[in-house]
Amino acid sequence: MRARSEEVARLLPAPLRAAVLTVLLLVVLGPLAYMALASVSSDLAVARGALWPDGFHLDNYAKIWSTTNLGRGLVNSLLVAGAVAVVSAFVALLSAYVLVRYAFRGRIAVLRALLALQSIPGTLLLLPVFVLFASAATALGVTVIGTRWAVLITYLTFALPFSTWVMVTYLRELPPELDEAARVDGASPWRVLTRVIAPLSWPGLVVSGVFAFLLGWNDVLFASVLTNPDTRTAAVELQIFGASQEGGALPVYGQLMAAALVCAVPVVALYLVFQRYLVAGLTTGGVR
């Protein structure tokens, strides 16, 4: 029976499917393969446009740590993006719980805002955020710009609308009877949330957390303005490394590719580990 319904559900003849997939995989894997090949090529071979490496220059991966400040950048990125992930998943859980379980005026407006806020261009907010942080420094006597706090707070805020939206889509599938049962047993709302809701919605927490992490890890716009050489994230470090290759001496393209690959690995690893949940999260209708 199963085999038959599968036969009925077939969409493409096998040869056509094979052809389509071959083309797609070539298009996707071509540049990825080149990236890997170039990262073990000599700088000269990449600059010449050679497709195959001239030997196996694994030392590119050793040299990048002294050519650039990528090491410090990666630490900064991990600290900032990691903190953003944890805090935003937690805050999103709180906000989403309120949005799903309590009826209040303006709830639909808040939900709508969650979606709308995601599509406000970052370039619009960059300068006002900069001015605001600078003024805060003068008014309160604390330095914000140049510290990790500046990007941390910024990313946190940009992550929250999407994280909250993801949590809303998870929490609204949990039956309200769950909370009611717990509350009848005398549990406080806080206890219900931490002991009943949070454990049941951990796939949502993972998705919110991972997306918040990626937002921090991938950003160049805010980090290029709000950080200084000591607090630069890996993204800005790589962008500067890439931009400084033209003009003058031999560009160290092999090393640049190695550095790019190093920056990509944590992201691809996260994706592969949490793939199932992330794909579900991506289809919830968020803009990211």
Binding site: V8, A9, L11, L12, P13, R17, L21, L24, V27, V28, L29, P31, L32, M35, A38, V46, A47, R48, G49, A50, L51, L94, S95, V98, L99, V100, R101, R107, I108, L111, R112, L115, A116, S119, P121, T123, L125, L127, V129, V131, L132, S135, I153, T154, T157, V168, W217, N218, L221, V225, A235, L238, G242, L256, M257, V268, L282, T283, G285, V287
Partner: protein, 279 residues
């Protein structure tokens, strides 16, 4: 419990948004930025200058044009991928994972990689048998389209695949009973059912491209070549290279208007209710 999220959103999004609207009415440059509260109020002059004497109109045309092109281009690729990975076959899980990788890669990594691929002596010219510049001049526009397409199409694939999975099996049975061939079934039965998720994907893709800063910034660097001086990059350069802050923010406000229309469409399309039987 609502407080932490609300306060942060207010502090870093709503207040700056209001501030942006205000700054766009000020004569703010590198000399007046320190005392920005006291900068001269000049009404809509920044907007007038942006339209008349800057590359704003060109940038808008460019942003809308290339975003539309990329979005339309994503459609057949994404649909083909979704349809081709729907039937069971050996290694399907792996193929599905691999197809999403370009979308998952950080834009700054994608930009850095293609910057090397497209450099004048680079592998793109070598493989294509062409010569000349890809990162400058008229061809740079196509370089941008190609790279955004490469990185962006999996979103359409993703949403279309999700739509296909939720397709009722009776749809297939009905088509089989009618004796429809694969193309007729695809064309008249399956694809029409995907209209919802695919339109959503297209709107999201358009918004993503119009707002995309990192990829053009990393791919072409600044100052950006004229042919790829898209709106986000122009805004950034006006602020942090030319220090024309008021003008730059006015441009950014205009870009807000640009995303408002697709945004409105998108808001109507997404399910907003919060649970069962609660209103």
């Amino acid at each position: 419990m609502f407080l932490p999220g609300g306060v942060l959103t207010l502090l870093v999004i709503v207040v700056p948004l209001a501030l942006a609207l205000y700054i766009s009415l000020l004569d703010l440059d590198q000399y007046s930025i320190r005392e920005w509260v006291g900068a001269e109020f000049i009404g809509f002059e920044n907007y007038v200058e942006a339209v008349r004497d800057s590359n704003l109109v060109h940038a808008i045309g460019l942003s809308v044009g290339y975003s539309a092109l990329v979005t339309v281009g994503c459609l057949p690729i994404g649909l083909a991928a979704a349809v081709a990975t729907q039937d069971r076959f050996k290694g399907r899980g792996l193929v599905r994972s691999v197809l999403l990788v370009p979308y998952v890669l950080p834009a700054f990594v994608v930009g850095s990689t293609w910057r090397i691929i497209f450099q004048p002596d680079g592998v793109a010219n070598e493989v294509l048998g062409t010569s000349g510049l890809w990162l400058n001049g008229p061809r740079s526009f196509w370089a941008l389209v190609i790279v955004q397409l490469w990185a962006g199409w999996p979103l359409v694939y993703l949403l279309a695949a999700a739509g296909l999975q939720s397709l009722d099996v009776t749809v297939h049975e009905a088509a089989a009973l009618d004796g429809a061939g694969w193309w007729a079934k695809l064309r008249h039965v399956v694809l029409p059912q995907l209209r919802g998720p695919v339109s959503l994907a297209l709107v999201i893709s358009f918004l993503h491209n119009v707002n995309s800063f990192t990829l053009p910034f990393v791919l072409f660097g600044v100052p950006s070549p004229y042919d790829v001086e898209v709106l986000p990059v122009l805004t950034y350069v006006e602020s942090f290279q030319n220090f024309e802050f008021g003008l730059s923010v006015a441009m950014a406000v205009v870009s807000l208007v640009l995303v408002a229309i697709p945004m409105a469409v998108y808001l109507r399309a997404v399910r907003l209710d919060t649970g069962r039987g609660q209103r």
